[in-house]
Symmetry: C2
Subunit: 335 residues, 2 copies
DNA sequence: TTGTACGCGTTATCAA
DNA sequence: TTGATAACGCGTACAA
């Protein structure tokens, strides 16, 4: 099956390639008669527009990249859906890559995007991303939006949530229910996001005259099983803890497992708040009270901002911080 | 920042573009001395390879598409991770699109892939995809692998799970626990996947001399609430039913809700098996016994097969059916 | 409306 | 043996 080119269509229609190109893109003034001849020829030929050739000629493309570190995390699935939807509205194609927290894979993807002449990217960078990565990215001079995890470099646009406020709300909720022995479970020790969430947590405790207990701030991998593991250890050693703010829903789900195994009933003997509001949060029994960060909305906003940058918006870097919302369900009890 | 082209690098190195190209791609015979001169010039220039130009010239590309109908479903997140990993191994870029079950969006994505000269695609088609979609796709003559949802057309490669065997295993499990009055709950009436699962279910009953009761095979939307609704109706009318195989875990979770509301305890008064092994299955109380389908592996296998097709493998269409596994948890009782 | 140079890397052909 | 020349892939946009 030989590829049909625009030139062949032009010959069939008895016009020049310029004319066909103009008809295809609705540019210039083409007489109605000619246009119809061309449309007919296009129709009969089974012509497929060659975007590659157009991109080469135009020195731009309609392709943007999305780099995540863990696409299996439902939070990022939601975000991706929001972004994907926004990209489609603007006829942009989305390249997806999953760094799996590897700086090497991440770099490889960005290089690949550059080679493919992508017109922009949305990044949730791997954890130990060096400054040099951001420096190199800036030199490339291609729109790049950071999401969820801010870049160490303030020159990049950022869309994320108010982590500090989020855990403040969560912690206040627990305090208002009478809890005084509250743990913070989850997150990676070197995570900036975690530092902010811890900040909201401890500041709220202190505002109530409660001094945070360092041993009750524990880290965990972003998995249910590890959440369960660390919770088990923590709550065995400190049975007086009656509530916890979790770094992530996924960890909270693990904590639930651990509690059940230990014979403590979530929502009655123990109050639990998550963070992210992933789909599962509403489905587990008891349903998880959590801080909603509107993952889909982050994706949508990032897409919007990226599109405006691609269109030439050169205002100073923006930081779009979406307000979190406490979604009260059942895991802190019914009252 | 002007783009540096291969021609400029060639001039800097005092050689022709042909030589630079050959050095870049390790083709042809270039003397060590020349090669080093070129590499030095490349290094100093900050040259970025223009894949678009290369693709145009070569009439191929390194880009493949992945079409899903719901990327927010954790099952597909897992699958995407598996595929993405495999694509990266072969230096292929992955375009992602989310049809949201819209045939229109789906068609738009495929058209876009064609225009962009993608070299292959992996599809989990929208539910009501017309035959004409597959016909058109075949005419395009581009490798396309179906995943999870088989195409109505047998000419396409397919990677999925053994639905028939899956429900057989589930049903055998229930029979071995002594259940004789077993329902099948969930799925869309027009779904081929459901037909297979029903097949595994009924054939296993028949092998035990139990004739399936048509009224006990009920459909449901893929949501917890609808699962609860249909279960409530079914079990009110037929209280003699003591067990059910569900089309999906998500439906099973709804059935659990309904049972609780009706005062029947799952795992003691009623045995329940799901399908998919989604994350929540391990979390609910009691934990759901279910059929696991290894989403990541489906993605990996699809990627492997797609790559071989891109490389020119023209064997007849394959159907890769991954074996499911019964994950026994608590929802059928402890014994 | 058209002719055609152009975007940039590739590779067959040919020269040294 | 090594490397240069130039046609080519295909759509775009400006001058005519």
């Amino acid at each position: 099956m030989a590829t049909i080119t625009l030139a062949q269509v032009a010959k069939n229609a008895g016009v020049s390639t310029a004319t066909v190109s103009m008809v295809l893109r609705n540019r210039g003034r083409i007489s109605q008669a000619t246009r119809e001849r061309v449309l007919k020829a296009l129709d009969e030929s089974g012509y497929v527009y060659n975007q590659t050739a157009a991109n080469l000629r135009n020195r731009r493309s309609n392709q943007v990249g999305l780099l995540l570190h863990d696409i299996t995390n439902p939070f990022y699935g939601e975000m991706t859906a929001g972004l994907s939807h926004e990209m489609e509205r603007h006829d942009l194609l989305l390249f997806l890559a999953n760094s799996e927290e590897s700086g090497e894979r991440q770099q490889k993807f960005v290089d690949s995007l550059m080679r493919n002449n992508a017109c922009g990217m949305v990044l949730c960078a791997a954890r130990e991303t060096p400054t040099s990565f951001y420096d190199a990215l800036k030199r490339r001079n291609i729109p790049a939006i950071m999401v969820v995890r801010p870049a160490s470099d303030p020159d990049f646009d950022y869309v994320g949530t108010d982590n500090f406020l989020g855990t403040q709300m969560a912690t206040r909720h627990l305090l208002s229910l009478g809890h005084r022995h509250i743990a913070f479970i989850g997150g990676n020790a070197s995570s900036g996001t975690r530092a902010q969430r811890i900040g909201g947590f401890t500041s709220t405790l202190l505002a109530q005259g409660i001094s945070p207990e360092p041993a009750w701030l524990v880290t965990s991998q972003a998995s249910q099983s590890d959440g369960a593991r660390v919770a088990q250890a923590l709550l065995t050693q400190y049975p007086q803890i009656t509530a916890a703010v979790c770094y992530q829903d996924i960890v909270a789900l693990g904590v639930m497992q651990a509690l059940r195994k230990m014979g403590r009933e979530v929502g009655r003997d123990f109050a639990l708040v998550g963070f992210d509001d992933i789909t599962e949060a509403a489905l587990v029994q008891p349903a998880l009270t959590t801080v909603s960060v509107a993952a889909k909305e982050i994706g949508r906003k990032a897409g919007e901002l990226l599109y405006s940058r691609i269109q030439g918006n050169d205002e100073p870097p923006q930081r779009i911080i979406l307000p979190p919302a406490l979604v009260v369900r059942e895991s802190c009890g019914f009252r």
